[in-house]
């Protein structure tokens, strides 16, 4: 009763899978494009002197970290259009959801990076007459970003994994395509195995790179003065 594998059906549909992969990368990339700057912005609000501003940013972060991404996606896809009487297609809903969601996580990465920079660096900048903005742009952020790269890569991996949720609102990402092909060919075993492998071969090198960088940064000890 051994199962007869047949990968031919998968390869016959390689164009559909490729399209799915491109769509997956598209949602991931565009969400990052919005999510990272938004995350920096939220982190700066979180670090603001004003308690009121800082707390609001905190609530934003906590809310999006403490609700499931799929619920957020559904809310934006099903609820937003009715509330504002607008049409939102699955692609836009995904971009909105993942930009906001990842920004909450990126904000935490930025914040951790920035507070890891010694206070003396801020003071040295101020002491030569720099404004807060100049110190951030020229002194502290460049140092923080270097330390944040592994955490960034990790977040990117998580984001890409999370984009599979868009299949639940029928956006044709890699998983959605797989499901489609599996249903048409009655070969879910082959299709889902191949698709899992496709995800693996995109994500694994990224994770290896993230760990390598982390180790290198740990070894170099991030030598600041003193």
């Amino acid at each position: 009763m051994s199962y007869e594998w047949d990968f031919a059906v998968v390869f016959q549909n390689y164009d559909l899978l490729l399209l799915g992969l491109i769509n997956t990368l598209n949602v991931t990339g565009v969400s990052l494009l919005f999510g990272i700057p938004l995350g920096l912005f939220v982190a700066l609000l979180r670090l603001a002197d004003s308690k009121w501003v800082s707390r609001s940013a905190g609530i934003f972060i906590e809310f999006f970290r403490s609700t499931p991404p799929l619920v957020q996606l559904f809310w934006i896809f099903f609820v937003l259009p009715i509330l504002f009487d607008i049409a939102i297609d699955p692609y836009s809903a995904s971009i909105i959801a993942f930009s906001i969601q990842s920004s909450a996580f990126f904000a935490e990465v930025f914040r951790a990076g920035l507070i890891s920079i010694d206070r003396g660096q801020w003071e040295a900048g101020y002491a030569i007459g720099m404004t807060r903005k100049q110190v951030l742009r020229r002194v502290t952020l460049p140092q923080a970003v270097k330390r944040m790269i592994p955490a960034f890569l990790e977040r990117i991996i998580e984001l890409m994994k999370t984009t599979t949720l868009v299949s639940a609102i029928s956006y044709s990402d890699l998983l959605f395509q797989a499901n489609d092909i599996a249903q048409q060919t009655y070969r879910p075993l082959e299709v889902f195995s191949v698709v899992a492998a496709m995800y693996f071969f995109v994500l694994w090198p990224t994770s290896v790179a993230a760990r390598g960088l982390e180790r290198r940064l740990a070894v170099s000890g991030e030598s600041t003065a003193a």
């Binding site: 403490s66 499931p68 619920v71 009715i82 075993l189 889902f192 899992a196 995800y199 994500l203």
Partner: protein, 218 residues
């Protein structure tokens, strides 16, 4: 202006209640199983013997570097064909989420074990303890307290991930909400309420992680 009406959602509280119970049940089972097996896999990964180390490493890399939804779909649609049996939605979700939890928690265990100074092993050895005794009596008790924030975080992630079971129609909270909103055409109220329920369920966990991490830093 939209006329909010939460009446229907609240009159269906029992439908959501079942969903909430299923969510908690799934999360709790996966967490307990995932952490226990994660310990074994973590120790295997820490081992210098290839026969333990390699399979454990491959397992961890595969389950950390594929989306959990793909894992769940694989267990639901593909595994039954391989095994020639039926697998219901709960089992598939349980398998997917547990494997995922094993993979992530084994890394936490490994990191925790590595963080203990080598002198602790040597002190155990010097007392004539076996490897298992050193691990059980000396290393793990110290390591586990350091790992608690990371485990709590896994719990939080796990509760969020249970919503993925709705994709294969397991009746957890989000799936129940979907059902209500399809019957009554009230996605706004239903999804808003469900988002809030999840927030109330998860936020204490997030807060706890913060607190534990802060304490660990001191």
């Amino acid at each position: 202006m939209y006329n909010w009406d939460f009446g229907i959602v609240f009159s269906n509280w029992n439908v959501l209640g079942i969903g909430l119970l299923n969510t908690i049940k799934l999360a709790a089972l996966c967490l307990v199983t995932g952490l226990s097996l994660g310990l074994l896999v973590g120790i295997a990964r820490y081992s210098k013997r290839k026969i333990f180390n390699w399979p454990a490493s491959i397992f961890v890399e595969v389950f950390r570097n594929t989306p959990v939804l793909v894992q769940i779909m694989w267990f639901f649609f593909a595994l039954p064909i391989l095994l020639q049996t039926q697998i219901n939605a709960f089992s598939a979700a349980f398998l997917g989420l547990t494997m995922n939890t094993i993979a992530f928690s084994s890394e936490i265990f490994r990191g925790g074990i590595q963080s203990i100074a080598p002198g602790q092993w040597e002190a155990g050895k010097a007392l004539g303890m076996t490897y298992v005794q050193q691990m059980q009596r000396v290393i793990l008790p110290q390591a586990i307290s350091r790992m608690i924030p990371a485990f709590t975080n896994r719990g939080v992630e796990l509760v969020k991930m249970t919503t993925l079971a709705s994709v294969i129609a397991f009746g957890e909270l989000l799936h129940q909400a979907k059902t209500i909103s399809t019957i009554y055409f009230n996605p706004i109220e239903t999804y808003t309420v469900v988002a809030l329920i999840f927030f109330v369920l998860i936020y204490p966990g997030t807060l706890l992680v913060r607190k534990l991490e802060k304490r660990a830093d001191q």
